[in-house]
Amino acid sequence: MNRRNLSLAALAALSSLLAACAAGPMGAGGPPTFVPQVSSGQEVRENRLNGGFAVQSKQDRSVVRLQQMFGDNLEEHGALFQVVVLNLGPGALSFGPDDIKVELAGQPGALISRDRLLELEGKKKASSETTGKMMTGAAVATGLFASMIAGAAGNQAGLNPQALDSAAQSIGGGVSSSIEASQKLKEAHSIASDARVELFDLISIPAANIAPGQTTGGHFVVETKGKQETLILVNCGGDQHAFRFQPK
């Protein structure tokens, strides 16, 4: 009797594992929320479009506005920022993602490039495949386990062959449902992953020449590693704008 209770408990644990696997990749946490540390020549501006706050930095030849953005699928890989630049200089200036440098806790950090994004998404796809395999494995193991217990307990309980067949069919249906779920999940992760790369292409900063008195802008993702003090340097027509952020 105790043995059977133990078996049922193990079965319940396996089922919980199955459900946990279906919840998606484990340990996915968002980036920290950064609080800007405003320095000389900078000020905080309210962004009426999204209710957030941007830091604006003015120097001789350029004005740069930077704001952390939220609610974006790219945040799975780091902190998303929007940058807007105005050329105050006498000549055209070139501006692109290469003009932005990052330091995390005093050490060189990185912006996520398209290649890096593909690499990260590749890892994610591999992880979801592992999750799918785990789900399938857990479903099959649970099914086998359940069949064994049902067979043994059913005989002990004096169940007729029809009742035992019905139990086996029910268990088999559960296994195939779990396998179907894991396949669907794998496909869905792959579709979403491709869409994130496309999103990156659509919103990232284009490399551009800015005429005097003109603006440009776009988004970039800083590859964050936990809660670290972050320095973002924006080079623009010979000016260097330093934006300091403390994680909340």
Binding site: A23, Q67, A157, S166, G174, L185, L199
Partner: protein, 105 residues
Amino acid sequence: MTRTLLCAAGLAAALFAGSGSALAQAGAAALSPADQDAMLDEEARRQHQRRIDAYSRLKGRLDTSVAASAEARNLAVGSALQMVTPLTDIKVQQLQNRQMQQGYR
């Protein structure tokens, strides 16, 4: 005569280009802080719109994994229940058999 005309035209073009460039330079330097803010606001609005457009185009695909995760979770829980239910039925039957053997009604 033709050469004189060409020289005059070239000189005029050079002067015009120079004045245009000077105008652009003066324009950028002469932007008031309010104008600068307005231009940055406009660019921020453009980038905001760019992001909204990108989302509306990709929303269905971006949300696929969220929807599928929920569906997979439901299926997994459902299938686990499907596997456990016969065992529960058997356990109930065992208890009933034992009660009958012990003379309970």
